[in-house]
């Protein structure tokens, strides 16, 4: 099992001939991801890491069964590439690109909803169904198979937490990076619902941050979940009105504070870690 992607997911890499695309194609292949093609306009017919390159997503789909696509495309061109994937019928789209204009993001997600495409990101490290399939950029070695679902808004912090989980004997079913932007394709609730239904997942770690109200909304669903949830929220010490790196991580007009999120999560029955390294212990208690 696992959610959204698994060992049978066929992946194409858009922007495969670029530096990032090439590097991460190698990494994903090393992890075991089934990459069936790359897309790079005008470069059709070439190969990258032994993977055939196509001119368009449409061409790739004429030649391969494609379940998912990952975008390594500069921000100004990301909307065009995303639209291509969605209109061509790709069902899972991982957008690693950061700094995509928010209006483009809204349009991408609107179209994806109407066409039934699941968008992971933008500005995400991607998604890993540990031991089965990695789509995105996280370092391979920390992601090992197991019963913990992880859903997060930020990247490196999640690697830190996942590495800690692995070091403490907790493998992961799937690790999902929602993305650090204000507008992203998946919400916590979307992913929590999938973890709740996934037989492989026994407990969930939620890595949130200040800003927005995604964690508050998640709490409403956590209340109804049968599986335990352990959360960590970054940004306790952040001052209001300052954007902490992520477009979404800003306390504006008193909304999206650390306190409000922690209270919502706790009253929903989640354990909340004060510091990132406390997660494994809370998880151990929750699973007792």
């Amino acid at each position: 099992m696992a959610i959204i992607i698994n060992e049978n997911t066929n992946v194409i890499v858009q922007g495969i001939t670029g530096k990032q695309g090439r590097f991460h194609t190698r990494q994903m292949l090393a992890y075991g991801t089934k990459i069936v093609g790359g897309v790079s306009p005008g470069k059709g017919g070439q190969e990258v890491e032994g993977i055939p390159v196509y001119d368009t997503v449409y061409e790739a789909m004429e030649n391969e069964r494609v379940d998912a696509s990952v975008l390594f495309i500069p921000a100004p061109f990301a909307k065009d590439a995303a639209f291509e994937n969605i209109t061509a019928g790709v069902k899972v789209l991982v957008i690693v690109t950061e700094h995509i204009p928010v209006h483009d993001e809204m349009e991408i997600i609107d179209l994806a909803r109407k066409k039934g495409t699941t968008v992971v990101g933008p500005n995400t490290f991607g998604i890993v169904s540990s031991g089965k399939c990695k789509i995105g950029i996280p370092p391979n070695q920390f992601f090992v198979e197991g019963p913990i679902g992880v859903v997060a808004r930020s990247g490196t912090l999640t690697y830190e937490i996942v590495a800690n989980l692995t070091a403490n004997g907790f493998g992961q079913s799937t690790v999902v990076g929602l993305g650090g932007d204000r507008v992203v394709g998946l919400s916590f609730v979307d992913v929590l619902e999938k973890f709740e239904k996934d037989p492989e997942t026994k407990a969930v770690v939620l890595v949130g941050e200040i800003g927005g109200n995604a964690e508050e909304e998640a709490s409403l669903y956590i209340k109804k979940m049968t599986k335990p949830v352990v959360a960590y929220i970054a940004g306790k010490s952040a001052p209001p009105g300052k954007r902490m790196g992520h477009a979404g991580a800003i306390i504006e007009r008193g909304k999206g504070t650390f306190g409000a999120k922690v209270e919502a999560l706790q009253s929903a029955g989640a354990s909340v870690a004060t510091l990132p390294f406390e997660v494994p212990e809370l998880l151990r208690n929750a699973l007792k």
Binding site: H103, V207, A234, M244
Partner: protein, 370 residues
């Protein structure tokens, strides 16, 4: 990027939204001249990138050019809400029959634009009871049509000519929101003056990520000098005022680092996300930025993914050798090329922690010792 009121109004005016007659000036003489041109009583408004100017004395009324000169002179010597006033807007004083509120912004939860309107304008929208606020999401593939304006107008209780004006204005405001890549356009108050609707104020925020295609909007600098340097290097940096300079890779990781330092009783000097794959040169420049905060200690927290530990180590060594690092550096270094990185540090007389909380505790200890 926030725009000054006068800039937003200039955009409004270009699109056909009515604004009061007026002019932006930078000195009392020009303020008097502007008041003369406008004729009659005027409002003299400080141009700063924050709300609640009225409460800070940043808005004054003047009945004639001489009073306008005096008001301008007063305001230009002020610091309102921590912002030094450099520009003022001299505008006609409107006949106000009623004040409305109208804004369009991005609703991250709905992943859509949302129109927020109220018949109770003039005050901060957070203070208006929910029952008096109309919210309407916009389908981005459709945009705003007259029928949507009619429906909102109905829910606001507008009628007749004002309702017609509102419909047109809403279409124009959405056009601005979309075409200018705005995160927020806000008119508060939107004034009913006879049978006209006039934007008596303007608040606009342009999406930083879209500035590359908004070349005709002048750049407005709100950052401190260090923040600006960081931005030019492609790094996210926020000044926080403490004495522990912090660098980590990733925004969440950086926030987590700050939280951990604060947890142990420390005071971070800054937020700095060194990003992924910044490389040695970029990292070296980031470290130099940290030194500008005059910290007691530098805390570096790297979990190498794309970021390579050897790059970070080499950057530290380079800065140490070229300009020197006058304060202690506590560094936590794990992940990609960890061994190489640690070795480089050791060869140059520095050590690395493996565990984040131990490193954080050490940094706090040093900072609080001095």
């Amino acid at each position: 990027m926030k725009l000054f009121e006068y800039m937003g109004k200039s955009i409004f005016s270009t699109y056909g939204i009515k604004v009061p007659a007026g002019k932006m000036v930078t000195n009392p003489d020009d303020a008097a001249k502007a008041a003369q041109e406008v004729g009659g009583p005027v409002v003299v408004k400080s141009q700063i990138l924050t709300g609640k100017r009225g409460k800070g004395g940043g808005i004054k009324f003047a009945d004639n050019p001489e009073e306008a000169r005096q008001a301008a002179s007063d305001i230009l010597s002020m610091t309102v809400q921590g912002h030094k006033v450099e520009r003022i807007l001299v505008e006609e004083k409107l006949q106000i029959d009623k004040e409305l509120y109208l804004a369009i912004t991005v609703d991250g939860a709905a992943k859509k634009p949302v129109i927020i309107a109220s018949a109770q304008g003039g005050m901060d929208i957070e203070e208006v009871p929910d029952d008096y606020i109309v919210k309407q999401h916009v389908d981005v593939s459709l945009g705003v049509y007259p029928y949507l304006g009619q429906e909102i107008s109905r829910r606001l209780g507008l009628a007749g000519q004002i309702s017609k004006e509102f419909k047109q204005l809403l279409i124009l405001l959405y056009k601005i929101f979309r075409e200018k890549d705005a995160e927020l356009v806000e008119i508060n108050p939107l004034v009913i003056s006879g049978d006209r609707l006039i934007a008596a104020d303007s608040k606009m925020t342009i999406d930083d990520d879209a500035l590359f295609r908004q070349k005709d909007i002048p750049y407005v600098e709100e950052r401190t000098s260090i923040e600006k340097q960081a931005h030019d290097l492609g790094l996210a940096f926020v000044e926080l005022g403490g004495n522990i300079a912090v660098m980590a890779n990733g925004a969440g990781m950086s926030m987590g680092s700050l939280d951990t330092l604060v947890h142990y009783g420390g005071q971070p000097a800054n937020f700095l996300d060194a990003g992924g794959g910044t490389g040695m040169e970029g990292t070296a420049k980031a470290i130099e930025l940290l030194l500008q905060t005059n910290p007691k200690v530098i805390f570096i927290n790297i979990f190498g993914g794309i970021t390579r530990c050897d790059d970070v180590a080499n950057a530290l060594v380079q800065v140490k050798k070229t300009r020197g690092i006058p304060v202690p550096v506590v560094i936590r270094l794990v992940g990609t090329n960890e061994e190489e990185g640690v070795k480089i540090l050791q060869e140059n007389g520095m050590n690395a922690y493996k565990v984040m909380q131990e490193a954080a505790a050490k940094a706090v200890e040093i900072a609080n010792a001095g």
